[in-house]
Every structure is written in structure tokens, then in C-alpha cells.
Amino acid sequence: MNLDFILDVLSTGLRMATPFILVGLGGLISLSAGDLNISLEGFMLIGAFFAVLGSYLFESYVIGICFAVLAALIYGLLFGLFTIKLKADVFVVGIALNLLASEATVFFSRLFFNVRGSFSDPRIEGIPNIHMAFLDDIPVLDQLLNNHSAFVYISWIMIVIFWFLVYRTPYGFYFRAAGEHPEALETTGIRVNKIRWIANTICSVMCGLAGAHLSLGYLKMFVEDMTAGRGFIALSAVIFGGSNPVTMAITSLLFGLAEGISLRIQNMGIPSQFTLMLPYLTTILALIFRAVRKSRKTTTLLTSIALTDTETKGGKL
């Protein structure tokens, strides 16, 4: 285990965490507004496909990103139409949209590119890596932080922006109120559904960006079902990290690191399944931990109520 290897794993982890952070920030807003969107995976896949399509048609990654965001927005419109407008079951719509994304992207890729499986072409322009010259001479930091794809840095900036959005603007409050006490929000004269639409829009944009990063960031290609469960990992980061963008991002980094480690040890012939399991397992453990703590609190509350109850009744049960 030399330093180079460790730095390599850490740097891979930073890279792997980026889609989780981008999607997670969107999912966090959506969840705090009360919608558990389990189709983050599908949103991201749609973004990834249309990023490649845009970049291929116009030979420009900027247009690719625009395509991705636009497509994800249309997808978000669909999600909002069914969940907010028609009040359909969020999980059913989520599962259906995941199915739709995975089938529609293959269908489109056969329609437009006439291939299935994966599509790459020299015309596709990728998102450039960012080289920071001032880091060149600093040994460890250079290897760790330099020459990542642009979205890696953008995602870090996004964390700060979202922190401000959640904790320093009224919207953060509205989102949480829409999720936790919609009636209370409604009485203040703010339409809950409007807030949910805004949250849904933010979430769609973030998923579109993450999709673009996935297909144009390093690979410059679209692969069938290339999200490979990343949407669900982001979802677990959201659930693990709660509504705080910073804790969510830290969780995402840890999950990214777990992915990075799995990638490296897989190459060395060690089973990677157990490291790949970690994000899901830690999320479940965190849920249990939180739930146990909460139930203890409620039990003590209940026993104290019961005790006062029995006291007032003169101890007769």
C-alpha cells in the first residue's frame, strides 16, 4: 500500500462521488418537499442519453448539457404531472419512469444511432478536464485535486449554493414546510403544489447535469443502463445525509470512495461485492439507528404519560 495507490483510490473516489452529489442535491430538495422520487435513476439515464445525442449532433458539449437538462426537465414535467397534478402513487410513477427511461433510451439509441449496447463516435465532444496550473508543484494535492472533469468542481460549488438555498433563503423553509406541514404552509398563503413543482424542477435539472457528467465527463459514450444503480446510491445518500446538503455531500464522498475502492480491488481479483454493498448497508443501519433512537424517545414519553395517567387515577390500573 504505497502513497500513490492511496492517492489514486482517493482521487477515483472524488470522481465517483460527483454524480451522487449532483443527483443527491436535487433529490434532497425533492425529498424535503415531500416526494420520495425513486426514479432519480431514470432521470439521470435520460440526461446521459440526450447529452450524447446533443453533443453528437452539434459537436459541442455545451449543447449536449443543454439537451440533457431539457430532456430531464421534460421527464420532470411527466413526474410532476402524475404525482402533483393527478396525485398518483409516487412509487408507482417512479418505477414506471425508471422502466420508461431504460427502454426509451435503448429505443432512441437504435433509432438515432442504429446501435444497441453502447454508442461512441469521434463527433461526440466531451466535457473538458480542468487543469489548475498552480497545483502542479504541490505533490499530494496535485494528484488528488487536479485534472478532474469540470463537473467535479461544479458539484463542489453546488454544495455551497444548495446550502445557502436550504438554510439562508425562504425557499429552503418552504421546501421543508411543504414536506412536513403542508397545511401550515398553505395557511400562510403559499401554494404547496407550487413549491413541489419548484423542487421537482430543481431535482430534474440536477439529474440532467449528473447524466451529462456520466456520459460526457470521462467516457464520451452512451452505454445501455449506464447509470447502473447510481440513482439509488444517491437516494441512499439523501436518506443517510438528511436535508443538510453538506452532510449529504460528505456521505456521497464516502459512497464514492467505496466505489473507488471496489473498482481498484476488483482489478486485483478480490471480490468487490461487499464494498459495493456498503452504501446500501450503511443507509439501512443509519435508518435503524435513527428509528431506534426515535422509538426510545417516544416510549419514554409514552411511559411518562402513562405514569402521570396512573398517578392521577390513584395508581389503579
Binding site: L86, V92, L99, E103, A104, Y280, A291
Partner: protein, 355 residues
């Protein structure tokens, strides 16, 4: 009388949605310059055109029916089980390992052992989130989704390392013994008896739902858990029972997949069955008889896809798009009608107030 009218109405509206979906598909095909009539004809002839097509249909439907029952039993009792995928994987690898490790047993011992092993693992897979829910109120939607991936990684490890078939590239177990295969229902067309398991399971679930105390309690919990609690139902215990039955069914689905059609486990053998099961249960409103019908519709779409591709040159993935559209149309239809009903109701109330 009223009931039959209602069911006729819902049948008509489901047919309407089905037609709308087909029209939607036809529109897409016209847009990409293909012939929709030719494509649909090919789809049906590939899915139900001859005996072997119908055999394939049965083979695909059996696991779908079981997976849908698994979702239905849980959600009927007010507890979601979105973990069908992981539980089916667990059941399948258990059946496969017992199926190839034990050698020289007669079929009437070996086959039940395989099925029991699968059911056991399926129950474990469902009981964990069920227990967490009942004991500590851990949200079962999230825990079942997360456990899907955990179980998948676990079975993937088993199939790649301890139980791997070294003659194959990766991620498969060796083929099961002859004594672990479900007997043929009709030998000449290679129809295995898995479909019987699915149909019997559906009948039993139908019976439990409609003719037993347990079914009544589940229905009460599903409609209003608090009311059921006040009525003296032990909600936690009954939901736990529902999760166990749900896990049993998904384990059975895994066993049927291995012993009834694939004869070995491979990575993500459960494939789309887990999620499709949830969707089918939702479309069928947890009614076991409707689940059989909807599962066959799903299978017709999926099996007919190849026909559409080969005859009419329509990408086979269009059928997946159509299935997703069907689900969205149906959810949309239901809720649109509810909205209308609510409006009517409000107007009526208004009039009453005026009077």
C-alpha cells in the same frame, strides 16, 4: 347488480386504456416510418400464435404472477414490499445451490428441498424489512429498495466465488441435477409445471384474501391501520405475517425460475420480474385473479417484441416503452376519474348547503 355493473365499467375503461396505448404505439411506429398493423400482427402471432409460443408465454408468466402476488400480499396489508427483486435472487440462488450440490436424491425429495430452500431465503429477505418496520417503524419502502441491492451483491458474490461454474465465463452456478427440475406438464412442447405453482398460489391468495379472517384483517389494516388497531387487530403481527407470505411467494418465484426454466442461477436472474411484479399488482389492484390476466398481457408484450422486430423491423424496446405508457395511462385514468368524482361531490355538497 351494482357490483357487476361496476366491474363491467372498470373492464371497459381498462380496455379503453389498452387501446389508447396501442394507438400511442401505432403513432410512434408511423412516425418512424413502420407499419403498425404488420407490427402488431407479428407481435400477437409471436406471443400467442402457436403451441410453442404459448409455452413461452406460460414460462414467462409464471414468475411474473408470483412476483406480482408477492407485491400484492404486502401492499394489501398496508406495507410495501418493493424488494421482490432481491428476494427472488435469494430464492433462486438457494434453489440452484441445493439443486446442484445434492446428488443422487430421488426427485420427490430433491425438488421439495430446492423449493423449501428458496422459500426459506425468500422469507428471510422479506422478514428483515418487515421486522424493522414493525419493531422500529423503519420505512419499509426505503429498506426494501436498499436491500434489493444488498441481496443482489450478496448473490452475485456467491455466484462469482464459492458456487461459480468454472466452465462458464462468470456469475453463474453449475446446472441443477435432473432430479431438481420441475416435471413436465406436457412433455412434447416442453411446458414445465411452474405455471401450476403460480396459478395455485394465486388461487390460495385469493382464498385467503376473501374467505379467511386473516384476509379480512389484512384488508382492514390496508384500508385504515389505526381503525384496525382500535378494532383489536394486532397490526404489527399481521403485517409481519403479510411480509412472510410475501417473501415466501418471491422465494417460490426464484425456485420456479431456476427449477422450472433456467436450470441454473445467473446474476440478476430476477431481472425485471421484481419491479414488474409491483407494477402488475398495482394495475390489478392486488386482486389475484386480475394479476393472472395482467401478467399475461405483460408477457404478450414482452414475448411479442421479438416478432415486431423481425417482421416489421420495429426496435423490440418499443414494447417496454408501451408498457410504461400503459402504466402511466392507467394511473392517470384512475386519478382523473377520482378528480371528477370529487368535483361532482363538492358541487352536490354546495347545493345541499344552499338548500
Amino acid at each position: 347488480m351494482k357490483n357487476s355493473k361496476k366491474s363491467v365499467n372498470s373492464l371497459v375503461s381498462i380496455l379503453g386504456v389498452f387501446l389508447a396505448t396501442m394507438l400511442f404505439g401505432a403513432l410512434i411506429m408511423l412516425m418512424i416510418g413502420k407499419n403498425p398493423l404488420q407490427a402488431y400482427a407479428a407481435m400477437f402471432s409471436y406471443a400467442v400464435g402457436d403451441v410453442s409460443a404459448i409455452t413461452n408465454l406460460m414460462n414467462r408468466s409464471m414468475a411474473l404472477i408470483l412476483a406480482a402476488l408477492c407485491a400484492a400480499v404486502a401492499s394489501n396489508a398496508g406495507i410495501y414490499n418493493l424488494g421482490g427483486k432481491g428476494q427472488i435472487e435469494l430464492g433462486a440462488i438457494a434453489a440452484a445451490v441445493v439443486g446442484y450440490k445434492l446428488i443422487g436424491l430421488p426427485i420427490y425429495i430433491h425438488l421439495p428441498l430446492c423449493i423449501l430452500a428458496a422459500i426459506f431465503m425468500g422469507i428471510i429477505g422479506a422478514a428483515i424489512p418487515g421486522y424493522l418496520r414493525v419493531k422500529w417503524k423503519v420505512d419499509e419502502v426505503i429498506s426494501t429498495i436498499m436491500l434489493n441491492s444488498v441481496f443482489f451483491m450478496f448473490t452475485s458474490y456467491l455466484a462469482n466465488y464459492p458456487f461459480r461454474d468454472m466452465t462458464r465465463w462468470s456469475g453463474t452456478t453449475p446446472p441443477v441435477e435432473e432430479s431438481a427440475k420441475l416435471p413436465f406438464l406436457i412433455q412434447s412442447v416442453e411446458l414445465r409445471s411452474g405455471i401450476i405453482f403460480a396459478l395455485v398460489a394465486a388461487a390460495i391468495v385469493y382464498w385467503i384474501f376473501n374467505y379467511t379472517n386473516q384476509g379480512y384483517r389484512w384488508k382492514m389494516i390496508g384500508l385504515n391501520p389505526r381503525f384496525a388497531q382500535y378494532g383489536g387487530v394486532n397490526v404489527g403481527k399481521d403485517q409481519m405475517k403479510a411480509m412472510i407470505l410475501s417473501g415466501l411467494l418471491s422465494g417460490l418465484a426464484g425456485a420456479v425460475l431456476v427449477c422450472g426454466s433456467n436450470y441454473r442461477y445467473w446474476e440478476s436472474i430476477a431481472g425485471p420480474y421484481g419491479w414488474d411484479g409491483v407494477l402488475i399488482a398495482m394495475l390489478a389492484k392486488n386482486n389475484p385473479i386480475a394479476i393472472i390476466a395482467v401478467s399475461f398481457v405483460f408477457s404478450i408484450f414482452k414475448n411479442g417484441a421479438l416478432g415486431m422486430e423481425q417482421v416489421a423491423n420495429v426496435p423490440s424496446d418499443l414494447t417496454g416503452v408501451l408498457l410504461a405508457a400503459l402504466i402511466l395511462f392507467i394511473t392517470g385514468r384512475e386519478f382523473v376519474s377520482i378528480l371528477f368524482r370529487k368535483r361532482k361531490h363538492i358541487i352536490l355538497v354546495d347545493e345541499e348547503v344552499k338548500q
